[in-house]
Symmetry: none
Subunit: 207 residues, 4 copies
DNA sequence: AATGAATGAGAATTCATTCAT
DNA sequence: GATGAATGAATTCTCATTCAT
């Protein structure tokens, strides 16, 4: 894919990727201006369209780029862990660290989640299903020790609820947080309280 | 508000509302084309702009229209009910019925939630706070009998989890159902299974 | 011409004429809004177009109406006067009085002079030649006693210069004056100074 | 200013300037159609708006362009001349030559004088004060030898009358000449007759 | 006769994409 | 390969005029 772009020197590639992510994150697919991108990346108009054929392919390229980035997040999580609550605690930690390091990419992910431009809608859904949403979670959740759960509950449903709670909590917090610096130990503690609550309810009572 | 539009015959009004909701749901505020709307509604170009002065006012009208619609949903729910799971069971029932009747409106609500066009952002936030988001839920959740919950859990967090589960379940289902009319008793049953699970976990064990 | 309009009751006719003059004076032919006119005159949209067939004919009607008005100005001037400077002194007096009484019409005349909308340009020029510009002056200048002029000057050219000076002075003043109340005896005096200068130069030296 | 436009080849620039001047002269700012201009200039719709950002800037550019053009007129006039009638004879000669070369520009100047579109009014007034109206005349009239005038007349008023006569004569002639190329030596002669008349009247009698 | 809702051509402007240099 | 001027379809919105009631 995109061999012309791939053969550029690293520094130029990053300039373009950063400019494009910034613009798509800021304005969404439709409103994002290729003019803005080429200005920010300091390249010629024609160049952008010779690397990627059009705006849509540039966008889809970024989706793939970001998805690989996310993979890295989940690869940091201990694969042998079988306690789902421990896994989620680790994932939260990794995410918080990344947010601090590359807030733009998370903004872009938020923009992706809100995206509804018809040109990219179908491709976006496809990619979302493939790897964006829950990619890691599914992979990770293979090794979960189901015996810890109360015998009277459907484990799969319990896991759904944990996932949904994690996603909703994250969304709620990222709506609250507008400035970069607000992430906090307190936030992690609050999240652990939700996890504790669910663990106490879903796991067998400890003797 | 919008007296010229109000005085149209019902059939024409609905044609316009449906066309506009469909277009805004499909493409978001920015990309939604007034040309598309007038074509779909089969009215003249000038007419749309004589009813509503511009695209923005048409959009804001739809927000209000939809909000009244939502009010009807929640007004059907029994206000005296104190069991949160009963309340959610009722809400689910009402929503499912409505979805069958006007699937477009729920698509529109999803689009509203994703909307980030600056032209309508501030008005949208205002309306969201006023009545769109969780208006009913908050109102309804006032009377909840907290004594039914296990004494070792934070009731507010438990309610959060129930809300998030409801919203996430609904979203998951509406993604599965691509506007096909496959809502089903089975779906309601599945939802009740989630509610049952949560009730068994969050409420005190029955003697 | 315009029998439907002519048969309206006087009060309604005046409401329409005033509204139209006001709007054309304010905005010029092109920018003048028929909507504004019907709103100000408090009549129905269709009515205006049944009285006059279109905007252009309404405008041309006003030109004729105003021209008759101007006739009245000049009919007040003493027809037996043979001294051109006396005639101009009288005309100035009459004009100043009228301006105080109906400033709108003079605004309209100014707007006519500046008008360059292609739709009315040719008709406007025709009417200007016919009666608007210098109509009175030409009629009045029939009886002028040419023997008072110095024998070494072309009387027709001298009269041209007097006319041009009068028009230019009036234009200069009306550009200066933006508020109604600024007309003044001082202005009349200044004008008489120009007339005196020209009289002293153009007339034979008095013994 | 307008670097993209400036870097076009001369022939294309002139095509655009001529088309725009023609259209603005014909219809005034408001009614002038950018569609008409691009059609006449044979360029693409987007091009006009990439050279100048919008209709207003195109118009203001033309004002400046024309003002430079006028400067050339006055720079050809002998600055050391102190006889106002000689100055006007020279100016007339230059103007008549220019009219033959670019009759459009004078039409445009007339349209500018009549312009009252609110979008450009303030900028227009600013430029008028700066250089358009009487720039040359005022500059030139600094060196006038006032001792040549009769001692019983107000020199400033006499100069006003000469100016007004020049402007009115020019206007009268340009109304007669409907863009036909009938400027003529006869016209210049006629103008000199007016100047002679005024000189004989305003200057001291030669011994 | 009077009404005013409906019409649709036309306005200015934008922007992804192309292509000659 | 790189460039950026040129393109024109598509955008929202206006308003004189028509016509069914």
């Amino acid at each position: 894919m995109y061999p012309k772009f791939a053969s550029l020197e690293q520094e130029k590639k990053e300039r373009i990727i950063n400019a494009a992510i910034k613009e798509f994150a800021r304005s969404g697919y439709d409103r994002a201006s290729t003019n803005e991108i080429i200005k920010e990346a300091n390249i010629a108009k024609g160049s952008l369209f010779s690397y990627f054929n059009n705006k849509k392919e540039l966008y889809l390229f970024l989706l793939d780029y970001v998805s690989e980035f996310i993979d890295k997040i989940y690869s940091e999580v201990d694969c042998d862990e079988t306690d789902i609550f421990e896994i989620y605690r680790e994932i939260a930690l990794v995410k918080f660290k990344m947010y601090r390091k590359f807030p733009q990419i998370f903004d872009f992910l938020k923009a992706i989640a809100k995206e509804n431009a018809p040109e990219v809608k179908s491709e976006l859904e496809k990619r979302k299903k493939e790897y964006l949403v829950d990619r890691g979670t599914e992979k990770i959740c293979r090794n979960i020790d189901e015996t810890k759960f109360r015998s009277d509950i459907d484990v799969q449903k319990a896991i759904d609820i944990i996932n949904w709670t994690a996603l909703s909590f994250a969304e709620q917090q990222s709506n609250k947080i507008n400035s970069y610096a607000d992430f906090d130990v307190e936030l992690l503690r609050e999240w652990e309280r939700y996890l504790d609550l669910l663990r106490r309810c879903f796991y067998k009572a400890e003797e």
